[in-house]
Symmetry: C2
Subunit: 337 residues, 2 copies
């Protein structure tokens, strides 16, 4: 199904290749996985769902809003699109199995960019044990990707946002604040280093989702909008208060270095909170796709889970018993562009 | 979760309501179905997949490309978005069970329009026995919807495009050409009548998909791009020639009336083919989402299936043994906008 000769496709645009040519190009880069019973090329895909239930979630990734083509390679965009979706089923305690990808793009998009996108999608799916099983293409003024992930619970009860109870521990795994700090560095014209890499290629801890379910997690959520915002969803759904300890959320050396590079947090020595800008990345930065979960008191957690607070009676999310007054989270329709 | 008081939401815009307010508004209109184990509001939905396999497909519906807000109501757009996806799993022989909806829209879109969209999505899902189980929202310059449908095979083997064999019958169920003729009428400023209704609200024959599988269909496809184009996919995937009989595809009285209203086919009396413009709608018009299937010779088909041709050795699609020279099908990246 690859384009005859290959060279025209390598140098051409989507308009020149046409919709069916594009689908053939991308399909050749997207190998079916072991659960793919019918893959790309029919009216629909067929995927194994051995549990008898399927977990499903859908997400936008929009040029200019979630990525910029001058800041991220096509492979990075593909990885990010897949990562954002794959972690959503992991956050239910499920194993990601399949991904459907809807790609709208300008007619003058280089085919090489679309190929890079497919390579990134395939690579990130492979990290999670899943594969791309289907998709759609259309034309639009800028690149827009909608990913739909499917997953299998393998007999586990789904871990909801609503199960946290007073006395539970709150724990996280994965990084916090790196993608947000990386974005600040990119915006300041400092495009190198590990935080910028974290912004371009988040690496969610997919296997920690089923692990948390097996450890008895009472609630779980993917940190996509920011720790405080997302734990706010858990608190609201569970009817509880979550109190975090800032001592457990101390910004790491990379975040402190980024704040220094950006001339932030220069005058806060000895004040409370320490390093307010770096801490704001930890508390308010989305896009790293860490997992936060609540566990019964005295749960024995593996080292990659860090206890950051506890569940109490009440409502909302506090930091050291106080409301957080810095910036946190975002609302897609409220932010001006 | 509905907006306090309701009146602000009824009169407001998406920007005023915010992302989480919008999701709450829409969720209230989207009732979970019997297979919805975890619905809207968590990181992912959980849907029953009793067969142990899940059928999945994803589709764009884009303002200005697939619909116009001045030609279709929000309810109609919701119905069409759902219909286009739901029929894709029926075309595999499966029963649609769940739909995920990604909605990108301008900040100034009236909330009432988004509510109408949700009502249309819910109504069309109900026609098919499915329900909306999840989604995502974002902002964009115009309305863009991506629907992902899930379905259950209930023990059936999926009916692929690749199973047609020489000697098989080719049959269709559902209407052909009405949506295309309706579009021509709308473009000519003739916005009323059954064909325009078919363009605004296609009514795919969902239950005919599993029925065809049970009748032994060897191949099946949803007619979305046009009968000739879509049967071309079956012919290519199966390695066969499909020969259609124009006598079995005679335009119905509605199509003849539309051709008359548009001053088409006025001089073709006695020529071959009869009514070329009306026949072009039948052969080339997409968007009605009829089903075409191939069946073993001498299959006993219920009356709603019309035999329109046969499968032969060779390749491609012919009409009365000849290549069709009229217009047929479309390519999303090749058509100028």
């Amino acid at each position: 199904m690859t384009h005859a000769g290959g060279t025209i496709a390598d140098e051409g645009t989507l308009s020149a290749l046409g919709e069916f040519g594009l689908i053939a190009e991308l399909s050749a880069l997207l190998s079916p996985g072991p659960g793919t019973l019918v893959g790309i090329g029919d009216d629909a895909a067929v995927l194994a769902a051995p549990d008898g239930r399927v977990v499903a979630s859908t997400d936008f990734l929009i040029e200019g809003r979630h990525f910029r083509r001058d800041w991220s390679s096509a492979q990075d965009v593909g990885r990010k699109a897949a990562a954002r979706s794959l972690i959503d089923v992991a956050a239910m305690g499920a194993v990601p199995t399949g991904l459907l990808v809807a790609l709208a793009a300008p007619g003058d998009l280089p085919v090489s960019w679309a190929r890079g996108l497919a390579e990134g999608l395939a690579a990130e799916c492979a990290r999670a044990g899943a594969s791309v099983i289907g998709g759609d293409t259309s034309r639009a003024g800028s690149v827009l990707i909608v990913t739909t992930v499917l997953g299998d619970l393998a007999g586990r009860a789904p871990v909801l946002r609503s199960g946290a109870a007073p006395g539970d521990l709150v724990a996280v795994t994965g990084v916090l604040g790196h993608a947000a700090a990386g974005l600040a560095l990119l915006q300041a014209g400092l495009p190198d280093g590990p935080l910028v890499a974290a912004q371009r290629r988040p690496q969610p801890p997919y296997d920690a989702g089923p692990e948390a379910a097996d450890l008895g997690a009472t609630a779980m959520i993917d940190i996509s909008d920011g720790l405080l915002a997302d734990l706010g969803h858990v608190a609201a759904a569970s009817g509880v208060l979550i109190d975090l300890s800032s001592a457990r959320l101390a910004p790491d050396v990379d975040l402190l270095a980024a704040a220094h590079a950006l001339n932030l947090d220069l005058t806060d020595s000895g004040s409370t909170p320490r390093h307010p800008s770096a801490l704001a990345w930890v508390l308010g930065g989305g896009e790293d796709h860490a997992l936060a979960a609540t566990f019964p008191p005295r749960a024995a957690l593996p080292p990659r889970w860090t206890v950051i607070g506890e569940v109490c009676n009440g409502d909302g999310v506090l930091v050291d018993g106080q409301p957080w007054t810095g910036s946190a989270g975002w609302d897609h329709f409220a932010i001006s562009e």
